[in-house]
Symmetry: C2
Subunit: 454 residues, 2 copies
């Protein structure tokens, strides 16, 4: 007999913030494939990577064997400002769905970056500061990563240069302003402040920019200054490592009430949120302990896992990065306009790609209209306005809960609510007014038959 | 010797959510003056008020004697979705200020309404539903109250009609959309859907509207339908009563760590946040228990407490409401444009007005530039982007902390961080670009010499 009703929110104490990041790679039987130098096709070495990333992050990037990486006390102190994040039982949503399933969500949106991105931003800037660096550069599309980084840089008094895709810079002035509040310099990309930017502008003066171009500009600026490094908010092993804090806290919170997820669901763009949320649960699966189904959810318009190829490819459109073995639609793939900017990425974290390839995970995709329908049902039940990215996980969780209703199974479903949708109101408006367009690329459009390993 | 360091966030459990609202009026030695019928100058009766407000809320409005009003279990269940709200120790801000003062803030912004307004919205809609009503109407300016009400109505499946000041409707499309996501109907005011709206449009077809006009339209629509009532998000006794949950939780949280505030600070527009935050602390002051200084903070451009008169006046610009005895700048006073929309009110809650008049409180005012400077210092230290309204309290808290630095006193300062500034980025931009205008009305502009009791 259960003595205690599970509360709506399971809040851990600050002392329960994990003291170690969990490095899932150490437990993986087959490791994710290494990054390659595109010129030589040799494994990227520590010294090559240190030209772009700070040293301790390179160690983390390459570390496939140490299971627990200590979280420095300074990082834990800053996490305490907004963590542990709440684990919430969606009682109202369950009631509305009339499902016997128990639905939990780990809510990462209660900080000013509006998403889980702050977890890795704080870690990356801590290590950069420790190394004596003065400045970091990055690119941002939708703006969550840039905002998280601006907050982290303001905490460590680190200079920040953000190259923001010009179309986003113009369409999302609020995002730009919020980064400026925290002291970040924001430059619309392409710009005339870099060599690569000037070249692009010469060829196409009216371009609205792309993430690939913004990456190229950010890397160029970082590489010109020995006190600068480039930082990235997803895809990389180090980012998935930092985000493991989401999964670790989730596991502790659920265990407190004797719960364990039968299903773990996360939206997947570059993979940072899902990689972090699922890490300890996948670890259990691998070790043959308790077992969970793991589901990655992506937009139908950018179906890297569900329809892409598992090959070596560039991480960026500009082809200046190392090669990663991952599920990809090709580095030249430009997804149709979609309001989930955070999920418009041609590839996928090598860790998630490897696990998916080896059968440890499932993946599914949804059109954006179906995702927004789920988002609104969720908002009206749970009072939180979700980010469109996060709503992909909501949609999958609702579908699984409805299956439980049919099969009369009391499964425990955990999904990651990565962020809030306050800066996505135009997207909601488009859905409410019935003008939202769902694009599912045809096989001809994807043209994967011609996509071969780089 | 202190054994336990006070954590960054003091999270209460859901079981610690208060079971009673605290009715400060019961402990006040002299009670706030009653609402008067402007035609007769008689006290508004229960039956008169029930034409506009639902019955149980009228009881609460008129109740000067019952100290504890039970919070119905259904309301407490809904509070559990987002409450208790965190009490946060501003360690980083203290460090930046190099102050010996201990600064705490009660953060009410972690819900989709972005402010404390949801506390009263849920209560008001619960009582409306219980009475069998089908619909409520209200007005909104900046939009927090309308959003909170839309969320509450979606939880109770109650129809909602919001009259939104036309200038806000056009300038803040995101706010309008968020209300629509939760199912609220939003009409720009003045509109041709009401008699009063049509009359105003006939005289001035190009008017951008006013809060006074929006109130008139909302009241008209409510009064046309026996299943409708009008609801209001501030000023009224009932609203201050519901918001007492802020102060009650604050007191419990601080007591857990042996803390008691020497100073309690809140921004004050209509008074709902400050009235709720300070209630139990003022109660102690009155009873001669522990003692706190209470400080109300308002914009220099709308200085109702610091420069207004304590007289009977209309609560609205349209002069259709009962008269309230309060500090007022006159119901015809139109404050200069200011980015703190929630503080642009000519009057003040009768409870706060009475306490201020009787010397239980202090009040101060700040220009908006000085408030935004404080907001940015706070954001960079504490990672939270505050609403401009809330930043008034931040500014006063910083000033008090700096006084402590000078006097080397380790005072405990508590302020209310009522909400977040995600929808106020244009205001931040204006500050950062140096185009913000500070307006402090001259005595001639206020023209209080000619303001006499209605």
């Amino acid at each position: 007999m259960k003595m205690t009703k599970v509360p709506y929110k399971i809040n851990l104490s600050e002392e329960e913030i994990p003291k170690y990041y969990y490095n899932l790679r150490a437990d993986m039987i087959e490791k994710p494939e290494p990054l390659l130098n595109p010129a030589t096709r040799e494994e990227m070495t520590k010294s090559e990577l240190e030209k772009v990333f700070c040293s301790e992050l390179v160690d983390q990037e390459l570390d496939n064997s140490n299971k627990f990486i200590p979280i420095p006390e300074e990082i834990r102190e800053l996490y305490k400002i907004y963590r542990p994040s709440p684990m919430i039982r969606a009682y109202n949503l369950e009631k509305k769905l009339e499902t016997p399933a128990k639905i939990y969500y780990k809510f990462e949106g209660n900080n000013t970056s509006g998403s889980h991105k702050l977890n890795s931003a704080i870690a990356q800037i801590y290590y950069a500061k420790k190394q004596g660096l003065k400045k970091v550069t990055t690119e941002t599309g939708a703006g969550q990563w840039g905002t998280a980084l601006a907050i982290a840089c303001s905490l460590f008094d680190m200079e920040l240069e953000v190259f923001m895709v010009k179309s986003s810079y113009e369409q999302k002035p609020f995002r730009k302003n919020i980064m400026k509040v925290f002291g970040g310099n924001v430059t619309p990309s392409p710009s005339d402040t870099t060599k690569v930017g000037r070249e692009i502008l010469k060829i196409n003066p009216n371009t609205s920019g792309s993430l690939g171009c913004a990456i190229s500009e950010a890397v160029e600026v970082a590489s010109m200054d020995p006190n600068s490094r480039y930082v990235l908010g997803s895809v990389l092993n180090q980012v998935v490592l930092h985000q493991s804090i989401i999964g670790l806290e989730s596991k502790i919170a659920l265990e407190k009430y004797g719960e364990y997820p039968d299903i773990v669901i996360g939206c997947a763009g570059g993979g940072s949120n899902l990689g972090g949320l699922m890490a300890p649960f996948v670890g259990e699966n691998i070790k043959g302990g308790r077992s969970s189904r793991i589901i990655a959810v992506e937009p139908s318009s950018c179906p890297s896992l569900t329809r892409g190829k598992y090959i070596y490819d560039y991480c960026d459109t500009g082809k200046i990065t190392p090669l990663a073995k991952m599920y990809t639609l090709g580095s030249g793939f430009i997804p149709a306009a979609n309001h989930s900017g955070g999920l418009r990425y041609h590839g996928m974290s090598p860790i998630i790609s490897k696990l998916y390839h080896d059968g440890y995970m499932e993946a599914k995709s949804y059109t954006q209209s179906s995702v927004f329908e789920a988002a609104i049902l969720f908002a009206k039940s749970e009072t939180i306005l979700p980010a469109p990215e996060s709503a992909h996980a909501i949609k999958a969780a609702i579908d699984e809960a409805l299956k439980c209703k049919e099969s009369k199974e009391e499964k425990t479903i955990l999904f990651g609510l990565t962020g809030t949708g306050y800066f996505d109101m135009l997207a909601y408006e488009s859905y409410l007014e019935g003008t939202m367009i769902d694009h599912v690329p045809t096989d001809e459009e994807l043209n994967l038959a011609n996509l071969s390993e780089i």
